[in-house]
Structures are given as structure tokens and as C-alpha cells.
């Protein structure tokens, strides 16, 4: 078998050195009753060609976003990734290396993590960032838990413009750890007054910008209101490219930023693996979950990098750890940092400008379709459209016409009739005029 190098001669020689009669005999500590006597009901081994065909058969039953016009967003965005990124992350020294616990043999990984942490801090306008987390939702949840720790309070306020999956993830943590969450209802029309929900028992207020329904807001006032009551402001960003065009959370008074980095370097991949970004201010450094890469010097006085402040982590603090997280999102963070490095300041800002322009062009086309209304008066690259009939039906109809029109809000909020006519549409730099014309025409037809 191509991945198993031993020959029978090898095995015999090794057994002889061990002094055991057979490989089976090495399992003698396993109680007889627990040992499987025969093979399991699974197919036998296969060559590469067969396996490729089998996987391709699964793929063939799907319609991918590279094959048809796609305007799906809601927390995952289709962007063009430069060819160099995928080549670099597949270098064996990146792909098949381990967590950099031994810094002398991991300076490659550690240096890119240090660069990554710096880039995340710069993008978000915050002082420090960690070396990534599983995804934006779990980063947001960890942010709330951290705010509880820092303020020694146990009640979070969550905006109605936070992505529903992120809300659910926070709810799971709340249930696990026994803290309270005041969830403001979904807020497509920007009616919520979060400041009124903050009191002396509130640990944090969680907002998303741009919001789930598209809106771009200034939450500096809300940050002040939170701080006045001793609470922290947590800002969530699900489309990291937006920070190339809009004011960053750090400039609006955020204390913690939890974001999804998938848009840079990483494919849509049916939802994972993605990369969570986590940033905060220096004063909260020791309360941060996740891995941290720090600068130091070696025995020859040269600059180098190491994982640091590990005593916050599970493998040392055990039950007193700041989190139970073990892995970060290594290779996805590498893809993110390489893509952002290739973009640079001018490229990143231009990419953001392109995204916004595409979305504005799409909105302008759709505003001409009778019966539909663009709900979000501000947006970055995604906005909510109000349709004259349930959005899920319209989306399904368009999908049959080979257009992935957008995410019906009811997919994520199925119980709420008042949101059933809302469709979320995202337009990135990958949207062409032809795609947008096709969508507008298709939509016009579907809502007639």
C-alpha cells in the first residue's frame, strides 16, 4: 500500500528484535472480547485514479460558485485568490509542519505568525492580535467570555445585526458557562437602541460592522455608553475586506475585535476551514485566548520568534486556562497573510473599492426592478433586498436557472415571518456586468 512502507521482511526483522511472534501479539493488552476478529464492513484499498474518480463524482453533483453567477455572502465571500498563494501554502515545510513549539526548527511559521498578528492589528486598528482562532463565530464567542473575565460580570448584550450563526455560538457558550445574554431582535431597519440595554451588570456589547443586513455604522457613541457603565465593546467583522474602505473598529472605541478572515487567501470550501481573527488592546493582553507569537533574541543576539504567554493556555493552566483551544488555524492564517502581503496597502484598498463599486452597481440595477427595494441605505459589498414574495422561493427559482442569487434571510432565521421576504446579496470584485445583468433579469422574471 503506497503510504505504508514496510515489507513482510521488515516486519519479521522488527518482530524478531522485539521478541514477539506477530503484530497481533503486540495487542495482547487489549482484552480478547474487545478485539475485532475479522475485517470491518468497509471497502478495500484503492489507487489514486479510483479515489480521484470517487471524489470527483461527489463534486459533479454540486453547482460551484465558479461555474455560475453567484451573489452569496452572509458571512462567507467569494474573492479571487492570486495563484501564488496556493503554491506557497502547499510547500511541504508549511503544509506538513507541526505547531511551532520548538522555535529553533519553526522560525518560518513563527515569523509569518508575527507578520500576521501585525497585519490583523493594523487592519482592525487595535494594539495586539493573536495567531488566529477557528473562525469568526468562535472568536466572537471567546471575546464575550473574555469580556466576562475582564469585567467580572456575567451578562452580554448582543446586537440584532450580528450574524445569526455567531449569535447561536455565543448562546452555546452562555449555556455552557452559565452567563446571561440579552439578544436584541434581528434589526434589518436599524431601529435598535442598544445603549438602553447596558447597565452596571453588563460585561460587553457585541455589534457587527458592516452589519448582517449590510448597514455600515459608527458605533463610537455606543462604545462610550458601554465604557461609561464599565462594559466592553466587542466589534465583529465578517467581511474583512471591508476594512480597506471603512473606518476600523479600533477607531470607533472597540475593546475587542473578532473577525472572519476567510475572504483573504481562503476558498469558500462549503464553510470550512476558515480563520478567526482576534484583536484587543495591550492592557487586556493576558486575558486573550489563543496562541500568541512574540519577538525575542537567541543566544547569538539575533532576532527570532517564539510562542509566548503560553501559561494562559490549556496545556499548562488546565482547568484555569483562558480557553480550551489547542490548534489555531495555521495554514489558513498563512494563506490570509500571503494574500494580504501580495495586495499591500494600495492593492487592499483598491480591492475594497472595487467590491464597494460592484455592490453599488448591483444595487443600482436592482433598484430598477419593479417590486423590489434595497433596504440598506449604507453598505459595503452586501445589502438586503426586500422582495414582494418569500425570498427562499425566489432564490430557489433562480438557482434552477443557474444563478446563485443571494442568501434568503429565512435560511438563517426560519421562524421569523417578518424577515421572510429579505434576500442578502453580495457583490465582490468577481462579479461581472454580465452576471449582474443576468441576475437583474432573472429577478425581474422571478418576482413578476
Amino acid at each position: 500500500m503506497r503510504y505504508l512502507p514496510h515489507t513482510e521482511a521488515d516486519r519479521r526483522a522488527m518482530l524478531q528484535a522485539i521478541g514477539a511472534p506477530s503484530v497481533e501479539s503486540l495487542f495482547r493488552d487489549v482484552p480478547e472480547a474487545a478485539r475485532l476478529k475479522g475485517p470491518l464492513d468497509l471497502p478495500g484499498h484503492q489507487g489514486e485514479l479510483e479515489v480521484e474518480r470517487a471524489i470527483a463524482a461527489f463534486a459533479a453533483r454540486n453547482i460551484g460558485t465558479s461555474a455560475v453567477p453567484s451573489f452569496l455572502g452572509a458571512g462567507a465571500y467569494r474573492h479571487h485568490v492570486p495563484a501564488a498563494v496556493d503554491h506557497l501554502i502547499q510547500r511541504g515545510e508549511f503544509l506538513t509542519s507541526y505547531t511551532p513549539y520548538q522555535p529553533e526548527v519553526s522560525q518560518g511559521t513563527l515569523q509569518y505568525l508575527f507578520e500576521f498578528q501585525t497585519q490583523v492589528a493594523l487592519l482592525t486598528g487595535m494594539e495586539v492580535a493573536n495567531a488566529s482562532m477557528y473562525d469568526g463565530a468562535s472568536a466572537a464567542s471567546e471575546a464575550v467570555v473574555m469580556a466576562n473575565r475582564v469585567t467580572r460580570r456575567a451578562r452580554a448584550v448582543v446586537s440584532g445585526n450580528l450574524h445569526p450563526h455567531y449569535r447561536e455560538t455565543i448562546a452555546t457558550a452562555a449555556h455552557a458557562l452559565g452567563f446571561a445574554v440579552d439578544f436584541a431582535p434581528p434589526d434589518p431597519e436599524e431601529r435598535e437602541h442598544l445603549a438602553a440595554r447596558i447597565d452596571g451588570a453588563t460585561s460587553c456589547v457585541v455589534v457587527q460592522n458592516p452589519g448582517f443586513f449590510g448597514q455600515v455604522r459608527d458605533f463610537a457613541g455606543l462604545a462610550e455608553a458601554a465604557h461609561a457603565k464599565g462594559a466592553l465593546l466587542i466589534a465583529v467583522v465578517t467581511e474583512i475586506v471591508s476594512l480597506g474602505a471603512i473606518r476600523p473598529p479600533g477607531a470607533m472605541g472597540a475593546d475587542i475585535v473578532a473577525a472572519e478572515g476567510q475572504s483573504l487567501g481562503n476558498p469558500l470550501g462549503f464553510g470550512g476551514p476558515y480563520v478567526g481573527l482576534f484583536a484587543t488592546q495591550e492592557k487586556y493582553l493576558r486575558q486573550m485566548p489563543g496562541r500568541l507569537c512574540g519577538q525575542t533574541v537567541d543566544a547569538d543576539g539575533r532576532r527570532g520568534f517564539v510562542l509566548t504567554l503560553s501559561t494562559r493556555e490549556q496545556h499548562i493552566r488546565r482547568e484555569k486556562a483562558t480557553s480550551n483551544i489547542c490548534t489555531n488555524s495555521g495554514l489558513c492564517a498563512l494563506a490570509f497573510t500571503i494574500h494580504l502581503t501580495l495586495l499591500g496597502e494600495t492593492g487592499f484598498k483598491r480591492l475594497a473599492a472595487l467590491n464597494h463599486a460592484r455592490a453599488v452597481q448591483l444595487a443600482e440595477r436592482l433598484e430598477k426592478v419593479p417590486g423590489v427595494k434595497v433596504l440598506s441605505d449604507t453598505f459595503f459589498n452586501e445589502f438586503a433586498l426586500r422582495l414582494p414574495r418569500p425570498a427562499a422561493e425566489v432564490a430557489e427559482k433562480l438557482a434552477q436557472g443557474k444563478i446563485l442569487a443571494g442568501v434568503p434571510v429565512s435560511r438563517l432565521y426560519p421562524g421569523r415571518k417578518e424577515l421572510a421576504d429579505l434576500l442578502l446579496l453580495a457583490a465582490t470584485e468577481t462579479a461581472t456586468d454580465r452576471d449582474m445583468d443576468a441576475l437583474a433579469a432573472g429577478l425581474r422574471e422571478a418576482v413578476r
Binding site: T296, Q314, N328, L331
Partner: protein
């Protein structure tokens, strides 16, 4: 400019090239991409444009490729050599897996596409789930946890939800507040139990390196929600009393969590479901070859017993007459799901890789893999136990444990010995874990290593052990000598944390 120990003008050392940070390399005006001029539109960001510089450096494509290539050359990797890291299962990462994960129709699927357009993706997840259920003998599996630690959280939360449901249904029954965890457990176990709101009580081990069954039974009671056992355990030994532990825990009304990090030793040979396990996380990035990627991403699906299956987190992939459904709400069949662990559905990219791995090996190949993994570890144990000191008589499972008694009086520590391995072309083994022996060295070769590699490794270890016993402390305190950086000051990094690059004094990094 820092010191240059090589005596070259550039500071480089042949193929080993120094490489500064991108912030020191790049310039704001450069870019490695060509993007079209954005069309002129009326801005709709509500006056909240980003003002000022972000501070990102720009590199051209050739510079970027050179930068990351040079960085990669400073890393050890499975592709280059052996990692004898106990409990990490650093096996070969097949390249077919990478090809499979990148296929159009998989890599470019949006998670929220209409289900009619992603039936193949759901079928793939279901196929992987099937393999995991058959291998473990369990009826259900939660696919969404992003890594092992999140898998543990998932298992413990399912246990908690089951207890709550029982209390709601049957009333009374004082809240169960404790989880029992062996002293030898990996740190994630107690951290996870605490993250789920439980108090943790440690179970001691016995002289044979297993969980002390009598002590365990004595600690069981109505406050115990469950136990977390690693099997094979962190000493590389099979917990022979596993089935009895299961019975005792169930009799006390608790649930049985198994940490499946070491599943590589028993796949195709033992099914945890046969031993009374209620939930077990699997590490696709250990047992099932998905790449470690320098620290992630992982994937930690959790197989579940019939008792815990109803509480699995969302979403659920369910096969039906009319195709696959994705249950994303806690209603209907999924009414008792304890909630959601992260956005979307799970680490799909790792599912594709793991399935390609499983299909390649087949049931026969997986059984052969666990056999070879155990053979390799026992070979290393047999060849080193006279030169080092092994706390437990063999046979071991997939990893061999040594302690530092052989270093007594030498002035050389486990750490010193492990660092010496670096100059010899090996990654150090797991050190100082498990905590139950002193100065532990835990070696897991995996089935990917040839006899030649193991013989070479053994020769190096024997040579180093001998040198240590000769008290060559000076040698050991100087290693590693041949790496791009040597003996980095971790104390300084922790006392004065510098976690990002900052521009020279005076240059403000605008956040507007």
C-alpha cells in the same frame, strides 16, 4: 544589525538565507496584484470611509515568493524528516488529499447555497460519517467541531444536555457538577470540563500506568456527570479495564467520554463503541492524515452513542428518500441539539482530505496502518529500553514512553537531550508529558516511518544517551548549534511581550 555568527558579509549561510519582516521589505506603493481601476460610483458607506494609511507593506510577486520560500526553509516538516512526537501522530500527508480538496465543485461551494445545489457535498460528509461510525462502532457522529479541543467540548456538552434532559423529564436528581479526569490526561481535558461549567476531579494512575480502577470507582457518585478517559492512554498503554469502567460509570448514572487522540493505535482492531463509550472525538489531523499546517486547521468530529446522539450540535446532515437534508435548527428530529459550535457546517476541506485518505487505505489498509504504528513503537521501545529508562514493561501501543532516570546524576535533562536531536535532523519527541512520570520522553513514530529511519533514529538516541551518561554537559547546553536560530530567550519574550512590528519612533500608525 544583529550579530552574524557565520562570518559571511551578508549574514547568510549558504542555502540558509536570512529574511526580514515584510514590514522591513515592502513599501506602501508596491503591490503583487494588478487590479482594475474601480468604476466611479456614488459611495454608500455613510461617510465612514477609512481615512489615512493602514500601514501595510507592499511586495511584488517575486519578492513575496522569495520571502515565503525563505521562511519555509527554516521549518522542519514531515516531508523532510521524522517527528517522533507522542500523541501527535505525525504521519505522512498524502498529496492526493490536497488535489481532492481543491476540486471545483467542492472548493468553490458556498455554505449557504440552496441544498439542491450541494447534494454531492452533503453526500460526501455522510460518506465520511459512515466510515467514522463503522471504524468506531458508534451509531452517530457530530461533524461540526473544528478541532480536537472543540470536539471534546462537544462531547462534554452532549453529556451535559443529556443530564439536563433527564432531570427535566424525571425531576429531582441533584445537579451533577463533577467530571473525573485521569492525572495523566492532556491539558485540554480539564480545560474543556471547566469550559462546560464542571468542576474537575483527578483520578490517580496505578503502577502499571493505567487508571486506578478502584480509585475511580470510589469517586463515582450522584454528583459525577461523567469521566474522560484517553485510550490508548497518554503513557501509550491500552486501558485494559475500559469495559468495566464503562459499566461502572453507567451504573452511577454518568457518561463515558473517550479522548480519541490515540485512535491510530487501534483503528480497524478495536471499536470504542464495544467498550461502552458514549462519545469520542477523533482528530482528522492526527489519525486521518489531514496536514498539521504549522498549527492548524484541524477537525474534530465526535462519534456518539444512541444515548447522546439526540443532543449532537447543529447542523446535522441527514440522508432521506429525496436526497440529503441539512438540519440547521433545533426542531423536529434535532429538537434536542445543544446548539451550534461555530458558523456553518464544519471543516469541509478536512473532510474531503480524510475521506480520500480512508478510501485510499480501505478497511484493510487502515488495519495495516494501526498494526505498523504499534509495531514501530514497540521496535523503538525494544531497541532503546536498555539505553534509556522505560517506566512500564512493554508491549506499548503506538507510542513508547521513557522517563529521565537514565539521566540521573549526569547533569543532562530531558530538554537537553531533545534539543540535541535537532542538530541530528529529527524533531524533538514530546517531552515532560504525561506528567505522571518524571522528565517524560514520549515517542510515536507512526506507520509512515521505514525500518531504516527507525534504525537511524535509534542509533542517534543511543549515541546521545551514552554521551549524556558520560556527563558531557557542555555539549548538551550548547545544542542546537546548527539551526538558523539557537536557544531563543523565552523568558524575555514572556517578561517583555512584543507581539507585533511597530514602525520606528515618530511614525504613527493611523487607525482611522
Amino acid at each position: 544589525m544583529s550579530a552574524n555568527p557565520y562570518g559571511t558579509i551578508s549574514g547568510n549561510r549558504g542555502l540558509q538565507l536570512e529574511e526580514p519582516l515584510i514590514f522591513e521589505r515592502g513599501e506602501a506603493g508596491r503591490s503583487g496584484v494588478d487590479l482594475p481601476e474601480p468604476p466611479r460610483v456614488e459611495s454608500r458607506v455613510g461617510g465612514l470611509e477609512r481615512r489615512g494609511a493602514i500601514g501595510l507593506p507592499g511586495l511584488s510577486e517575486p519578492q513575496a515568493i522569495r520571502h515565503y520560500t525563505r521562511l519555509s526553509q527554516k521549518n522542519f516538516a514531515i516531508d523532510a524528516g521524522m517527528y517522533p512526537l507522542g500523541s501527535c501522530t505525525m504521519k505522512h500527508n498524502p498529496r492526493l488529499n490536497e488535489k481532492a480538496a481543491r476540486m471545483p465543485g467542492l472548493a468553490d461551494l458556498h455554505p449557504l447555497q440552496p441544498l439542491s445545489t450541494v447534494q454531492g457535498a452533503l453526500a460526501l460528509i455522510d460518506a465520511l460519517a459512515h466510515w467514522l461510525k463503522v471504524l468506531t462502532g458508534m451509531p452517530a457522529v457530530a461533524m461540526s467541531p473544528a478541532a480536537g479541543a472543540q470536539g471534546e467540548f462537544c462531547g462534554v456538552m452532549a453529556m451535559r444536555a443529556a443530564h439536563e434532559a433527564h432531570r427535566v423529564k424525571h425531576g429531582g436528581d441533584k445537579t451533577r457538577t463533577k467530571i473525573l479526569v485521569p492525572e495523566s490526561a492532556h491539558g485540554t481535558n480539564p480545560a474543556t470540563a471547566a469550559a462546560c461549567g464542571y468542576a474537575v476531579e483527578a483520578i490517580p494512575g496505578d503502577k502499571r500506568g493505567r487508571v486506578d480502577l478502584a480509585a475511580l470507582k470510589a469517586k463515582l457518585g450522584p454528583e459525577v456527570a461523567g469521566i474522560m478517559i484517553t485510550n490508548p492512554n497518554t503513557c501509550g498503554l491500552f486501558e485494559n479495564d475500559m469495559a468495566e469502567i464503562g459499566k461502572a460509570v453507567h451504573a452511577a448514572g454518568g457518561y463515558f467520554y473517550c479522548d480519541g487522540a490515540n485512535f491510530n493505535a487501534i483503528m480497524g482492531r478495536v471499536r470504542p463503541g464495544d467498550l461502552g463509550v458514549d462519545c469520542m472525538h477523533l482528530n482528522l489531523h492526527k489519525t486521518f492524515s489531514t496536514p498539521h499546517g504549522g498549527g492548524g486547521p484541524g477537525s474534530g468530529p465526535v462519534v456518539l452513542s444512541a444515548a447522546l446522539a439526540p443532543f449532537a450540535p447543529l447542523p446535522w446532515v441527514v440522508a432521506g428518500k429525496d436526497g440529503f437534508r441539512l438540519l440547521e435548527r433545533a426542531e423536529g428530529e434535532a429538537a434536542k441539539a445543544f446548539g451550534r459550535l461555530k458558523a456553518f457546517h464544519g471543516q469541509m476541506g478536512m473532510f474531503v482530505r480524510a475521506l480520500a485518505y480512508m478510501m485510499s487505505h480501505g478497511g484493510d489498509g487502515l488495519r495495516q496502518a494501526s498494526g505498523d504504528a504499534v509495531l514501530n513503537a514497540n521496535y523503538v521501545l525494544a531497541k532503546l529500553k536498555d539505553a534509556l529508562s522505560a517506566p512500564f514493561e512493554g508491549p506499548c501501543m503506538h507510542e513508547a514512553l521513557f522517563d529521565d532516570r537514565f539521566l540521573n546524576g549526569s547533569g543532562v535533562t530531558t530538554l537537553d537531550l531533545a534539543k540535541a536531536l535537532i542538530d541530528e535532523g529529527y524533531h524533538p519527541m514530546t517531552m515532560y508529558f504525561p506528567l505522571v512520570v518524571h522528565g517524560a520522553l514520549l515517542i510515536e513514530p507512526t506507520e509512515s516511518e521505514t525500518k531504516e529511519t527507525l534504525d537511524n533514529f535509534v542509533a542517534v538516541m543511543r549515541g546521545l544517551a551514552e554521551r549524556a551518561k558520560k556527563k558531557d554537559v557542555e555539549f548538551f547546553h550548547a545544542v542546537p548549534r546548527l539551526t538558523p536560530r539557537r536557544r531563543l530567550d523565552e523568558t524575555l519574550a514572556a517578561r517583555k511581550p512584543i507581539l507585533r512590528w511597530r514602525p520606528a519612533d515618530g511614525e504613527k500608525q493611523a487607525a482611522e
